[in-house]
Amino acid sequence: MFKSNKKIVQSERAAEDRNVWEFRKVVENYRQRVYQTAYGIVQNAEDAKDITQEVFLKVFEKMDTFEGKSSLSTWIYRITVNTCIDMLRKRKGMSVSLDEGIDYDRRMEGNSVQISRIDSPFEAAYQGEIRKKIREAFLKLSPEHRSTLVLREIEGLSYQEISDTMACSLGTVMSRLHYARKKMQKMLTPLWKEAR
């Protein structure tokens, strides 16, 4: 009786160690992508940090129930996007601070990158005003539009992968992308003209 109990404990411990080991590999592979996606959607470092931890906690808890119907990356992106959307919905109505962006811009100004003349639009992105305006325009989009744009443009997912991640049709993905880009283009038109 005692021996069998000991065996059970040993096998449970081995399973636990194996889980942690597998989980470590998942974290190593997806840490950056999860944080980047979360930051891209919520545009706040602290929230992105909380979301990243929450996502990996969910991944760890549900790792045994993952059936492999979709790819692991799609599954993790789905958890990330859903966690971000939940957080944004909870905070609906609350004003979004752009201070973080301003801090970032100040840091950039403090660095050796002192641009007296805008040589190219890419360099212009370092200028605080431009970054701030891009963020302002982006934060006016709905959580779903933000998520679709981030998955496509920052994470480089295909339309099909976005469709699987967000559990919507290909048509919806294309429509959301078109709308998000059009709206941002409209808001940023004066900025593009300045940058030229």
Partner: protein, 171 residues
């Protein structure tokens, strides 16, 4: 002109890499021939780069170890901010006594003490019962008899209350 409109419409899909291969061939053939569309595509590409640059984080502040510790380790995933309240208050004197007294060894020792005390009280009476006669000093008659009884050799006095009707037997 019509081809230009169509090309511009397909630009985002082309940049997304989602244009069908046969359409890509036509699209690129048009670009080679049309400087206006070529410039437009370059502008869109630049805008996209700016947009991405404006939205991505500077760095990832969480290491793998941070996440592992938060999820699997002793550190809770969401550590409460502010003062940490201990889960249990330190035990008081009663808890300490209870945890000590209700262990087997002290309980047996306590029981032995009670038995020894009882024996020390009733031992002289036991000697009397073994044939050594005592002397009745005083017999008070009432609803029940009170007998003050002292043994000859022992320095022990017993007060014995005997109900009526049992006098003879008690004497």
């Amino acid at each position: 002109m019509r081809r230009c409109r169509k090309t511009q419409k397909e630009m985002e899909r082309y940049l997304d890499g989602e244009l069908l291969p046969e359409k890509v061939r036509v699209f690129e053939a048009h670009l080679r021939a049309c400087p206006k569309c070529r410039k437009e595509l370059e502008t869109k590409r630049e805008q996209r780069r700016l947009r991405i640059h404006g939205l991505i984080p500077e760095e990832v502040p969480l290491t793998t170890e941070d996440i592992i510790a938060a999820v699997c380790g002793d550190v809770p995933a969401r550590q409460p901010r502010g003062e940490v309240i201990p889960l249990a208050t330190p035990p008081g004197w009663w808890e300490k006594f209870r945890s000590f007294a209700f262990r087997p060894a002290p309980a047996i020792a306590f029981a032995l003490c009670i038995v020894a005390l009882g024996l020390s009280l009733f031992l002289p009476f036991g000697i009397l019962k073994n044939g050594e006669p005592g002397i009745v000093i005083e017999n008070i008659q009432s609803s029940s008899s009170v007998v003050i009884f002292q043994s000859e050799h022992a320095d022990t006095t017993l007060i014995w209350i005997v109900p009526n009707g049992e006098d003879q037997e008690a004497t």
